[in-house]
């Protein structure tokens, strides 16, 4: 006689238990959802503000930025006019041209150039931003290398070194990223023409190529930490570093930009407002062509 009662009780408690279970699940689900939304939002805020504060660091690139396929990266030595070019392309309708000074963080923004949307990245020219540059180059659809044509004779060594680093970048080589070599500051009376700049740079890269091959191996992870951690990623990095010292052009033949697989165009430009041969239209059409190809 006593048996049905516990059974009934069990069934009854089982029913409430089920409801409770369902309720808990529901609450947990809602909680997870809220948490997810908040987390996404806060991550977005943080990455935005951190990017503002520090300039995009190597790991500060969000996944959205990494996946972009319309990035045009502006590189070059300090004081060549990268930021000026960036502002001209970014604010095309401006009546005034803002002054610029040495940058200490990366400028990046979407801009409409000849009906196409380009993600313009301006990387500071200071040597300390080398690793930032290397993190942006792999995703570049096109590279604009800005040279100060008036001062190129003095700075040819650093300029050539920079151009070498850019062109020897593994991803730039495999993607055959097109490059626009911009001989800027043509308004300056001391400015050299683009053919002279090209010849100077080719001479210097030719020398550089030899000394690069003579360089030492870089430190492997094995020497930094003898144990563990020699995971696949680390090896890849070390190997990638190795490969950046790739030989440019053909062995036994003097270096020439034409020998490279990357399409390279050499233009003249002047970013002084109102200059009649600013070359800005050519830059814009090059950007549009690069993005469409």
């Amino acid at each position: 006689m006593a048996e049905p009662t516990p059974l009934l009780q069990a069934a009854g408690s089982g029913g409430t238990g089920l409801y409770m279970l369902l309720g808990t699940l529901l609450i947990a689900l809602i909680g997870a959802l809220v948490w997810y939304v908040l987390n996404q939002q806060s991550a977005a805020i943080s990455s935005q503000s951190m990017a503002l504060a520090s300039g995009n660091s190597i790991h500060g690139l969000t996944s959205a930025q990494r996946k972009r396929n319309n990035a045009i990266v502006v590189v070059g030595p300090m004081g060549a006019g990268k930021t000026a070019l960036w502002t001209r392309l970014r604010f095309p309708d401006s009546a005034t041209q803002p002054e610029t000074q040495t940058s200490m963080s990366v400028n990046s923004a979407e801009a409409h150039i000849n009906e196409s949307k380009a993600y313009l990245v301006d990387i500071p020219g200071h040597q300390k931003y080398r690793l930032d540059r290397d993190s942006y180059l792999p995703m570049a659809r096109g590279i604009i290398f800005v040279v100060d044509s008036a001062r190129v004779t003095e700075t040819v060594r650093t300029t050539a070194e920079l151009i070498y680093d850019v062109l020897a970048n593994k991803k730039v080589q495999t993607n055959e990223t097109p490059m626009l070599l911009l001989c800027n500051k043509q308004d300056d009376p001391m400015a050299l023409s683009n053919t002279r700049v090209k010849a100077l740079l080719e001479d210097e890269i030719d020398k550089l190529r030899a000394s690069r091959q003579a360089g030492l191996d870089s430190l492997r992870d094995a020497h930094v930490a003898a144990s563990g951690a020699a995971a696949g990623g680390d090896d890849d990095d070390a190997a990638a570093d190795e490969r950046t010292s790739d030989f440019l052009g053909y062995d036994g033949k003097k270096f020439s930009f034409e020998d490279l697989p990357n399409p390279i165009q050499i233009n003249e430009s002047s970013l002084v407002l109102g200059h009649d041969m600013s070359g800005l239209e050519l830059i814009e059409s090059w950007v549009a062509d690069t993005l469409h190809s």
């Binding site: 504060a53 500060g60 502002t87 990366v106 500071p124 200071h126 300390k128 000394s211 430190l219 930490a225």
Partner: protein
């Protein structure tokens, strides 16, 4: 007065700039390049001040907006109000151009926003700050009415003042000391009293009944509370409040500031008040106006909880990072770096720089601050370790060949770090690249040093069959090393050597006669590169060694343009596992690149530095 004031983004776009005098040599660019990007240790101890040419520069950041404010003035001038000016200009600029600053990051906006109308406002702010400064100074000197002697600072130094102060001290600590006789119940009473500083005493005794159980205070033990009661320096806050409410009182009263309870006369905080007698009644924005709409969230960030609503707001809207929030993760980071063998003061300074760059940044509520600190730290370390000058020595040698002279490198350092060993490794590398190398044995002090090099030369000849072009230049022991080096270079030039490697005697950085000898060697021969050889094993010592070597080269050279260390060779790198802190300490101290890393005993164990590997090792838990 001011020569130039510039407001620019960190990306280098000048938003507003005004030059009051013709500016030469672009001091602002130099500031950015030398100080803000380099992030190496400055010679001057004064923070936020930079001197170049005839100019001095002072600057301030608005991290949350990515904007930097820079003031340029003549070096000979003393402008004490600049800190104030930078802060007020920042407040005004941010308040006025909030819309325009948003336009800068808005992709749909294709025209550059116009900031030119800031000029008028800037001049107003400038005048206001300057006026106030003069007023304070005048008031400080003569004052409207002469101050009573008891009010002055000098009063305290006199015997009578000191006695009075002592009495006051005794009074305030009397109750805390009285605990000895009072016992537990009594000490509760005092502790609740100390919370409200002025109403200390029996008035607060009524609270004791409501108090929850507290930690027992043993007699004679100095508690935090009693320390707080005795620490009068922290009570200034209430005095500041007094200063800001004093507007309604008389002018001379206002400019005289407040006399604090403990008898310290201090100038009232001028920043919090409007200027008395200013013609157009221009009111400076206080610091609170800076935060504007995000005031609440900022407070929520600092206090941790602002009710359920504040919590929600901080979760969705993000919060501002403050020094308090950053203190804990920064301390952790500092400890972590110290564990990686980074010199203590280097770790401290780097953490401070990183924290300064993060304050004011807005983060999402659920974002892990420690993670953000790590990110910023990584960026900062990358900046520090990335070399500025070219590390391509072969290219430099070719340049020297064009000038028909040998390229000279001097190896300096303390005893036993591996100068000769790494010199021979560098020599092997150069021989592999078909250079003719001369080794100058300038260690004329340690017995066996010359023989050691001779053995190396024999080995190197045996190793490289194709290139036998290595010779040793020696003059035995006990001679002056500077002369030997000079002769060696002359010999190298005459015999068409490409490179001369100068081996020097190891010397302790505090040994002045030896350091003088080194400075002489450098100034007589001016080598192309002065390479400091340092062990990767050193910790705090690394900073001292490098600073002393650099100082000796500077002080004892007798030249107008003294040399400094041009590069670092980090040896014994294979012995330290992932405690790679010395690499960071050394680059941070000198700002010079690590050219080679020695990783073993054989001639081939010489490597290039790999910045990303070192950073990964540094940040690895």
């Amino acid at each position: 007065m001011l020569d130039q004031f510039t407001i620019a983004t960190k990306g280098g776009i000048v938003l507003w700039s005004k030059a009051y005098a013709p500016i030469t040599h672009r001091p602002v660019d130099l500031l950015v390049q030398d100080v803000l990007i380099q992030s190496t240790r400055l010679d001057s101890t004064s923070s936020n001040k930079y001197h170049t040419g005839t100019y001095s520069l002072q600057w301030g950041f608005a991290n949350e907006l990515n904007v930097i404010f820079i003031a340029v003035y003549q070096k000979i001038l003393q402008l004490p109000y600049l800190e104030d000016l930078l802060r007020h200009v920042k407040n005004h600029f941010v308040a006025r151009f909030q819309q325009e600053l948003k336009m800068l990051v808005d992709p749909e906006c294709t025209t550059f926003p116009d900031f030119s109308e800031f000029e008028l406002e800037f001049e107003k702010v400038w005048r206001a700050v300057e006026d106030r400064e003069t007023k304070v100074r005048v008031a400080g000197k003569q004052g409207g009415a002469p101050r009573k002697f008891e009010d002055t600072k000098k009063f305290q130094t006199t015997a009578k003042g000191a006695k009075l102060e002592l009495e006051e001290l005794a009074q305030s600590s009397e109750m805390n000391l009285g605990r000895k006789s009072g016992g537990k119940m009594r000490s509760w009473k005092e502790r609740s009293g100390t919370a409200s500083d002025d109403s200390r005493g029996p008035a607060s005794a009524g609270k004791k009944g409501k108090k929850a159980k507290e930690n027992r205070v043993w007699d004679g033990q100095v508690t935090k509370e009693s320390m707080k009661a005795l620490d009068f320096s922290s009570e200034k806050d209430s005095e500041h409040e007094g200063g800001s409410h004093a507007i309604s009182s008389l002018v001379d009263e206002r400019s005289r500031g407040e006399r604090t309870a403990d008898g310290i006369y201090e100038v009232a905080d001028v920043a919090e008040r409007s200027v008395a007698g200013d013609s157009d009644n221009f009111v400076l924005l206080g610091d609170s106006a800076l935060d504007g709409d995000n005031d609440d969230s900022g407070r929520a960030g600092s206090s941790g909880s602002g009710g359920i609503f504040g919590l929600f707001k901080s979760l969705t809207g993000g919060r501002m990072l403050t020094a308090d929030v950053l203190a804990e993760p920064m301390a952790r980071m500092r400890e972590h770096l110290a564990n990686k063998n980074v010199a203590a003061d280097v770790a401290e300074e780097i953490c401070q720089t990183v924290a300064r760059g993060m304050i004011g940044v807005r983060v999402g509520g659920l974002q892990n601050i420690r993670r953000l600190v790590e990110q910023s730290m990584e960026t900062a370390l990358t900046r520090i370790l990335t070399p500025v000058s070219s590390t391509d020595i072969i290219r430099d040698i070719e340049q020297a060949q064009l000038q028909h002279r040998p390229y000279t490198m001097a190896f300096v350092g303390v005893n036993g770090v591996g100068k000769s060993t790494n010199l021979s490794k560098v020599c092997y590398w150069l021989l592999q690249n078909n250079k003719r190398v001369l080794i100058a044995a300038c260690d004329t002090f340690r017995s066996g040093a010359v023989e050691q090099l001779r053995v190396h030369v024999r080995n190197l000849r045996a190793l490289s069959e194709s290139n036998q072009n290595v010779e040793i230049f020696e003059r035995g022991y006990g001679k002056d090393s500077a002369t030997i080096a000079r002769d060696a270079i002359a010999f190298g030039a005459a015999n068409a050597f490409d490179v001369v490697l100068i081996d020097t005697a190891g010397r302790m950085q505090d040994n002045e006669p030896l350091m003088r000898a080194l400075a002489k060697l450098v100034s007589v021969n001016s080598p192309d590169k002065i390479l400091f050889v340092g062990e990767a094993l050193v910790g705090n010592e690394a900073v001292d060694q490098l600073e002393k070597f650099n100082q000796a080269l500077r002080d004892f050279s007798g030249q107008s343009k003294p040399r400094h260390i041009d590069g670092i060779i980090l040896t014994k790198f294979d012995t330290i596992d992932d405690r790679v802190g010395a690499a960071l300490s050394m680059t941070y101290t000198t700002g010079q690149p690590i050219l080679f890393v020695g990783t073993g005993q054989t001639y081939t164990d010489l490597r290039k530095m790999n910045v990303s590997q070192v950073i990964r090792a540094l940040l690895r838990a």
